[in-house]
Subunit: 376 residues, 4 copies
């Protein structure tokens, strides 16, 4: 159908969790046509996945370089590509598309290592194409609401930030039991120097910076590997100092039983506090100092966002809708780009990706020095 | 793309809440192509909406009869149609498609009146096409889980059912203030003899029967119209007797401030209780008698459903995903139908639609007799 | 110590739950000395209980008539007596003290039958002494707050009242297993014509009238006995019509697994709603229509009560503190009475006791007529 | 009445919050008679308070030394004394009673400084009398339950401890506005080197050690003073390493709007997690790994404690009841002491007091070294 953006995908063959999420997010508001892919690094699996997903066989590629080359030449070639491989392949894949002017929507964390990230940043700078990083939690409507309330001074000067992201899926040595995602995440060559810190720590860090509008200036990190035989961290405690004067704590864990996907943030300023939790994301608690706490619901009274929500209050939207917001705002940007416009955006991009990698790097450096303060 | 079901829509022009929901639900799992519509009863608005939604102008119709006739003749005509008009138009529209063998996915309540409903039921019987009613709340994963736990005897013999569906959007006389949806819902000619009872009471009734596997045998209803000048009910209290021996209460309201879309059900049997609330739908509380209550999460420990969920536990799914489940299961049914198969399904159909209309009719009859018991 | 009120007790020997609660409540704010008792209808147990509780043996009586006679003659005889026997003994015991000018603090429900209640009411009228009924839930600070907010018009004209009181302790036939309290509660001679309705239904009814300031004018009740062999009701569904125009529903149950002491009330008016639940009683939710719901905490912002709370917000008070409020306010009344004053009070008395018995009686009458509406 | 323990009090004149709490806690289970006091350091206020509280004027003292001397000589002198002065007076007062064999129940933190604490510890060692510190939160029934579940291996080896204690009462410079408690708490001479860390940080630290059965071995602390003009800390972030291998984070704040008294702890081990929050203390969440989380209620299914609870599940107990548990267990100890017995106890004493002061001292030392790790 005319008007939709032609989208390709690298990685995300059938069975991969996050690839399916990206495709669904792209469909959410009907802004994309998914038309090409290099869906696996194993050619046979790539082709099978393409067939299962209904791709034209001529546009189901064995490798991303071939895909980038050919799609760039096609009259109706893809305009954007989603990159959903393990971390270490993000940069090589992204560069192939960026240099051919194809917009990139890339999974987080940006790369496996900070040097790779810097190299990718240069590639983004050198390209006219857009680069969008799927820090999806920043696109939940009430996260946007929280950011707006901080920005408009509702809380006054910020003092304290408490952010946490506990999970429990790695409580046991799942990586030794053939679970594919656990396997590559525990492989430093594919994941980088930190697993828990990179996979979910970067989300927590990004969310804190997004809502507060302040940047983590320095941190002190104590990283742990609790499960015997594991190579990378599965729990991390961090103290934060923000450039705007706020002080914070950040906890992420993959070994905290009872926590499924417990991203939660609390922000306190001289005039009030805000609290939001991802698992029940349609609610934001605002506590003006000296007044009763107020429950702001998505699209309900007190909600002032004008985008990013599809159904009336009380009809819960969640993870997929938030992810869909990223894709739909990316579509807006891509269309504006085609018109030669560069509108302001709240979408995370290369800068947020680099900051995330600096966060991981700083945690690892601090941890090696017994949790000494290091700057980002 | 091959493999998708060709879908049309009657009603649901741009600006209509529920039409957009149906289209998004149809896209959710990529099982449908939306290709034709008679999107408004006003021809001009119908055409504008079709254009905005990217329909081929030749398949954007002024009225549903023309659409049914032409699509039935097309080689690639629609296989299914979604009907999302005001209640009184459900039956006339549905019949046009049913008699031409086009499957119908129809919004609830079934019709505006019980006689219409019976007439439509005969049309369904006479047709080879499928008829599916979008009682969407029965497709939430944890509602399915609750039903399964009742069915497998986890609660023992059922005793008490408490179901409620409070909202607050009609606390003031919104229908006098130009709000379009409030207007037609307050018009007995379009809505039928009950507004609150038909719009959301039927959901509560349907959910109770779905989870318990019992049918409401008789009821006593006290209906109220609190807002001055309003023509139809905006609050209703009902006592229920189920055919399996359970006893219950049902409350729905559109004038309960602080309740956005508060559908909630609690079921108690001799061995335990279950509780589920639509506004935080990823959680089901199971209280085995004499043991600590357990929190079952969507896709988490204790969850035994194998379909209807897309992302891991802790990544909240909500209203649109539940609605999407209906559409995707309808796609399964439609494909099976094409193969000549008639698999079992949990999807609501004409029977549930008729029961809903009998529920509305019984409430109105009981209320006229000062809440005397009447049978359904 | 000088200044404390001398208190006696009828019933409540060691092992009895509610007797210990009354004594603790009397101690809560140090307003009473517990100095005499007829603690059991079994003389030996009465004496043993008195000894265990440290009573002067001369003031540990075998029966309440002897106690009333002697204490009335003593220079330092009791000024007030707490009556905590099974229901059928409330009235005979109370009359002995009332006619001797000793104030009575009586457990609820008032009596086992309505005629007894009326007879007791006449005794109260003929006596100069005070009569206080321990509908303790009306003395929680946030229940008082709710009442005040209704009274001052915060909600506007009331429309809907939803009150419920589910428990689960009689899910199995506990009365056949030697549990003493279950035994007498299942004995119509001791309990009256309703068990669940009398024991906890009266609390729910009383709470609804207390907060709304309206009186139940008529009701339709469906009573159930789910556990085989049980003589009295263990679940009851009631529809309510209030004299001020509000409409309501009331549910009480002793067979709802997972509910320990689930008294909860929701009140909705044209301008807002209120919600309070006994199990987490330090929180009251106020939902002004069109604004975010607000969480009012005991002693926190928005709390306007000046009595009935002992510790700062965030330090939870509960059941015993609420009960203690009744006793401390009774002490205020008793001291005022001694000064010849009759201050206004929110304490429940004979009128509330009578209304409770009329409620029970109406439920039983309505149920016998298949839940027809009956007036109280 | 015979059998009760004769109790005196130092500090806690009328108007002081914590003195009234101690007296109520002592009355809770009727184990004490409050008979003597040096209720203020201002003689006139001491006498007025004694009169208001009904003390015999001969036993309402101007200073605690005179009180200790005279009460020790009286035939019916006090057996125990509660010390509820500002921190810096705890030690001098306690020593006067300890050296005369009078048991001491002392408010926390133990002292204003670590040297004072050590000196007091020697005085306790030299005395035959008991010394009990009111770390009251360890006496909540479900805190005891949590400790028991850790001790019996329910969670397996512990990994992560998250404890926090946010409040908001010092969000503004209350100490400059004449609030008495805020005044002395902000005075280093009376409070010691840390305010937030000493007042509530010690509670959080104590709770973590109590439940885990592990001791904080080292910590890294970042302390903050957000309110301009304030002399002492009002927020503190700490990373913890426990001697049993667990790692943790501790946050306390007095400037976090919306938090009234938000003590909360989460403990995770290889087999499961536990969560408890003081503001709704009748609930403990237990998440066995791989099973649905279970809600254990005070006195409900799964609760295995045999003491410390007075009313059935669903009848909330709170702060005062928990405090009362400390007093009642202290009464048990005092009676056992009189019989020459020294039973095991969970009551906090001088060791916990010393550990608390070492915690404060370590935080201050670490903070001075830019949050370097220091040992306790």
């Amino acid at each position: 159908m005319s008007g939709r953006i032609r989208l390709g995908m690298v990685g995300g063959g059938t069975g991969a969790f996050i690839g399916a999420v990206h495709r669904l997010a792209a469909r959410m508001d009907d802004r994309y046509d998914f038309v090409a892919g290099a869906l696996s690094s194993t050619p046979e699996r790539a082709r099978e996945s393409g067939a299962e997903l209904g791709l034209d066989p001529a546009r189901s590629y064995d490798d991303f370089t071939a895909m980038a080359k050919r799609e760039a030449r096609l009259k109706d070639g893809i305009q954007a590509v989603a990159i959903v491989t393990p971390n270490h392949m993000h940069a090589p894949a992204a560069r192939e598309f960026l240099k051919r002017g194809i917009h990139v929507i890339c999974d987080k964390p940006l790369t496996a290592t900070l040097p790779e990230a810097k190299k990718l940043a240069r590639a983004v700078e050198d390209s006219d194409a857009l680069f969008i990083l799927t820090h999806n939690y920043t696109a939940y409507p009430l996260v946007r609401q929280a950011r707006a309330m901080v920005a408009d001074g509702t809380l006054g000067e910020l003092r304290v930030v408490q952010v946490e992201y506990p999970q429990d899926w790695l409580t046991t040595p799942l990586e030794s039991e053939g679970q594919k995602q656990a396997e590559w995440r525990n492989d430093p060559a594919k994941t980088g120097a930190g697993n828990c810190v990179g996979d979910i720590g970067t989300h927590a860090h990004n969310l804190a910076e997004f809502i507060t509008g302040q940047r983590v200036e320095s941190l002190a990190a104590d990283m742990h590997t609790f499960v015997p035989g594991r190579l990378l961290d599965d729990n991390i405690h961090v103290m934060l100092r923000f450039d705007g004067g706020a002080r914070g704590m950040l906890w992420t864990s993959q070994v905290a039983p009872g926590n499924e996907n417990g991203l939660r943030i609390r922000v306190y300023g001289e005039n009030g506090g805000l609290e939001w939790a991802q698992e029940n994301p349609n609610v934001l608690t605002h506590s003006p100092y000296g007044e009763p706490p107020r429950t702001i619901t998505r699209a309900g009274p007190g909600f002032t966002q004008t985008t990013g929500t599809r159904v009336p209050p009380g009809h819960p939207e969640g993870y997929l809708e938030g992810f869909g917001n990223l894709y739909s705002e990316a579509a807006d940007l891509i269309e504006a780009h085609a018109r030669g416009e560069t509108p302001e955006t709240l979408l995370p991009g290369i800068e947020q990706g680099l900051r995330g990698m600096r966060f991981v790097d700083a945690c690892v450096r601090s941890n090696k020095r017994n949790a000494a303060w290091v700057t980002l």
